[in-house]
């Protein structure tokens, strides 16, 4: 791995096995890897979802994700961190986001991965528009996500 932080924003899908290998290979000092994958669900708020469009703010997105990872690294002794977020048109069951974190021990890896996801959901400039049985609609931010963020502060 060229750097211990990998941030990618892309239309293409990603491969969990490949990303896990990147986190694990030649990394004997870390004893824990936590990975999270977010997927497109088929039901949201009682409506059938047939697809999702992800818009972002290209000039800002990678910098915002890097800032979140830097913040996580300042709180926990994290080794390698990979964040991948897809954009564009996605179908139901497709992968949206990957967060992978390594650390000496599991607690820091679990906490670091959860922290990055919680911050990503409220701080990184992505917007989801669902295609549903009742037409296209922009997903509204959830108050619970904001409250979850405040739990880390």
């Amino acid at each position: 791995m060229a750097s211990n932080i990998q941030i990618r924003v892309q239309e293409a899908d990603f491969d969990l096995g490949h990303e896990y290998k990147q986190l694990r290979d030649d990394n004997p000092s870390d004893g824990a890897i936590v990975t999270f994958v977010g997927l497109v669900r088929d039901i949201n708020q009682q409506q059938v979802v047939t697809g999702l469009f992800l818009e972002h703010y290209p000039a800002m997105t990678e910098g915002a994700l890097r800032g979140i990872v830097d913040l996580a690294k300042s709180k926990w002794p994290l080794g390698r961190v990979t964040v991948i977020h897809r954009v564009g048109q996605l179908d139901v069951s497709e992968q949206i986001v990957f967060v992978g974190v390594t650390s000496c021990h599991r607690k820091a890896a679990f906490d670091g991965a959860e922290f990055i996801m919680d911050y990503l959901k409220t701080q990184a400039p992505f917007w989801k528009k669902e295609t549903t049985s009742e037409g296209d609609k922009w997903i509204q931010a959830k108050i619970e996500d904001q409250q979850k963020l405040e739990g880390w502060q």
Binding site: E55, Y57, G63, A64, I96, A124, F126, W127, Q140, A141
Partner: protein, 82 residues
Amino acid sequence: MLNILFFGQLKERLQTHGMQQLLQEIYCVADLRKRLQLKGDIWQEQLALGKTLVAVNQKMASEEERLKDGDEIAFFPPVTGG
């Protein structure tokens, strides 16, 4: 000149992805927001404080953030990635 961008639902409601604005009598984000809200009812409503977030030069910003010539200011709804 300020470069202004809109994203997500805001872009659709305002029917524009962005615009340029002279800096005249605009000193901070709050001034710019108020100036844009004068453009009409939909602008007044969509740019209401608390309904949109703002980034200046690709970093999240407050209403008090000072603006200067050439800045890129983005207004957008609360984010929904992940």
